[in-house]
């Protein structure tokens, strides 16, 4: 069962599934604690701040044990960010209640100097995305930029920023990139696979 899903996952996303955490490929072979430690070291526990002012350690409070879908925005964005965020709300709505509870939506600022927690909150509200289980993260610019770099999405040129989504089953170290042209139902399918992966032995 587990293997089949892995195959499906890799086939569905053939070119776009990229394991950005190469060292974690074998995470399942390590002890849980050791794997987590490794992942924590990679992703760091840099402090980020949610739209509600909560201070979160990136690995322990945001990633650990979760299925996450990560997007990147800046609140002044006139282009892709609002569209992408609307897509994400559609995706969320398409998920069943039970599925939604198991998936953490994470939206990270690409412009932490300007994106105060209050600005992130406003952006979330504007896009009807200020919901339970959806974090809009900013923080000290050094921290935020380090995290976006780790996730391969840092940019100096905001207008040219990535609209790639990252989705992961962090527990199993399955990381995938989802390009912007995948329709919402396609994204939903991938998220379901990631969630089911969790239940696997």
């Amino acid at each position: 069962m587990f293997l089949t899903k892995r195959l499906i996952l890799s086939r569905v996303a053939f070119a776009t599934v990229i394991l950005i955490l190469a060292s974690a490929l074998h995470a399942n072979n390590l002890g849980d604690a050791a794997a987590q430690e490794k992942a924590r070291n990679y992703f760091t526990n840099l402090e980020l701040i949610s739209q509600d002012g909560e201070r979160l350690q990136f690995y322990d409070d945001v990633l650990k044990d979760n299925v996450v879908v990560i997007s990147f925005i800046f609140t002044n964005c006139q282009g892709a960010c609002p569209l992408m965020t609307r897509n994400l709300t559609m995706i969320r709505d398409m998920l069943r209640e039970s599925e939604r509870a198991g998936i953490k939506f994470v939206t990270i600022s690409l412009d932490p100097v300007r994106d105060t927690p209050a600005a992130m909150k406003e952006f979330a509200q504007t896009h009807d995305a200020d919901q339970e289980g959806w974090l809009f993260l900013t923080g000290k610019p050094d921290n935020v930029n380090s995290v976006t770099k780790l996730l391969g999405s840092f940019t100096d040129d905001l207008e040219a920023h990535t609209t790639m989504l990252l989705a992961a089953n962090v527990r199993n170290s399955h990381w995938t990139k989802i390009p912007p042209n995948v329709p919402p139902n396609g994204v939903v399918e991938r998220l379901r696979l990631l969630v089911e992966d969790n239940a696997a032995p």
């Binding site: 701040i49 300007r114 105060t116 209050a118 600005a119 923080g139 000290k140 100096d156």
Partner: protein, 568 residues
Amino acid sequence: MRRRDLRNGAVAASVSRRAAAALLLTVFAGLASSVVTPTSTSVASSAIAAEPAPADERGQYIYTEGKSRSNRVITAVLRRGEAPVPAAILPCGSCHGTDGRGAADYSGVAPLNINWYALAQAGKHEHGARLHTAFDEQSIARAIIDGVDPDGNALDSTMPRYNMSDEDMADLIAYLKAVDSQADPGIGPTSIRIGTVLPMEGQLAGMGEAMRDTIEAYFSTVNAAGGVHGRRLELVIGSWGANDDPPIWPARDLVDKELPFALVSGYVPNYDAEFAALSAEKSIPLIGPYTALLPLDGADDNDEDSDEAGNKRFSFYAVSGLAEEAQVLVEAVAAEMVPGQTRVAVVYPQVQSFDALAESARDRAAELGFRSATVSAYWYGQFDSAATVAQLRDEQVDAVVFLGSAEELLQLGRAAERAGWLPYLLSPGLLAESQVFDLPKSFSGRVLLSYASLPTDYTPEGSAEFEKLHDDFSFEYRYSMAQIAAYTSAKIAVEGLERAGRSLSREELVQALEGLQDYHPGLVPPISFGPDRRIGALGAHIVRVDLAAGRFDESTQWIDLGTASDAN
């Protein structure tokens, strides 16, 4: 006890150490990680509701459209004896302008300024040579309906006579009272909201409070004397320091939520460029932020709006920062020695924007025609004085412009003396003052410090006013440098607001500030801005250190950068 500083002409007393130390946090980013305790960024304020009353809005519709929201008929008689026409053909705003100030020329006539402030003052509202008594609500209604002023004289015949219901007239008058405050945020009929950003919590809270108290004290005296053109100054504060969130956040939240008309003073260490970029992005005047690193070049390198022309227009700085001081130091070398026979070196730590700072000093040296001008950088905290001395001596450097710390300058001086090499040593006083008297005596007369301002700049009136503020409001005076900066910024802002006039807009304020020439705020050198000039006192004092006597030379020299072709 530190009030002595004010009266004391001694240069040595010029820098309040605490404030200087705080300013240096700006300079050496590495030191700036300071504060803890997790609570979220707050915007402290005494918010005032700026919601226009519905009557205003209905009145605005009448003013601009000539129609009533209630669909009651409003008519206008354009020429005497003619039949009434819908007022929509010639609504108030079509001649008097959306801001009520009147067009300069409208088909040969000059519609008047109908701001309530002008209307409600006797003699302010001119009809040619004729001055009349002040309008009130009844007489303005008569003017609109019957075309007569409060003294019964007929208005110009080009002013239509309107007919409308009492309700619509009341709405229109409500709007007239507010028409001049519609343009920019933060202006009310009787108030101007001014924002500032300060550390009100954490390690620097004392300094933040001292700066706030100074600004509030000065604003209070202005308000007590009737405010600025009838408007009271209100201060709203974006506070940081409770945690290590970027200080630029409360600045942004302040501008977004409190909608201040302008930003005055403020201390946003390590985010000076972002502070200026915020001012540019929101077109909000920023007057005199407290910093030693003025982000005049590349202020918006990371700003996607950087293509927009003139987006740095909104930031004004009272006095020079380290970059300008470094250029002044190079000028000082040229004044001491013949540039063509002199080799000058700029030595600096690689922190923050010091690369650009050193480059600007070297560029200045190149312009002045020095025999050679080099820069030499070292890693912050890893200054190797012996190696630096060996290198510079090999290059036969005659003068060193040193931009490191006081301790490092001392190391440099001692190593140079050991090597039997005695170049001129020049450094900003802000960086070097604290240990400069420990330099080897053999350098006496060869050590020059720069200061953006000195107690010698105090005018008697400035000193008296500042001390009166201190007495009347008994604010803390432990951070004299920061407080003088805050006071200076508040004074410049008020001067600009006074000159901008009652019909205030941010653009008017920017233009008024650009018009400041030789304005003396009292405790710093005279301030001049201009269309291409954003540093008020563009230059610095040069002070010679008498190491033998252990004091500063009494005579100081002001070197002005404003007259140079590439000022700023």
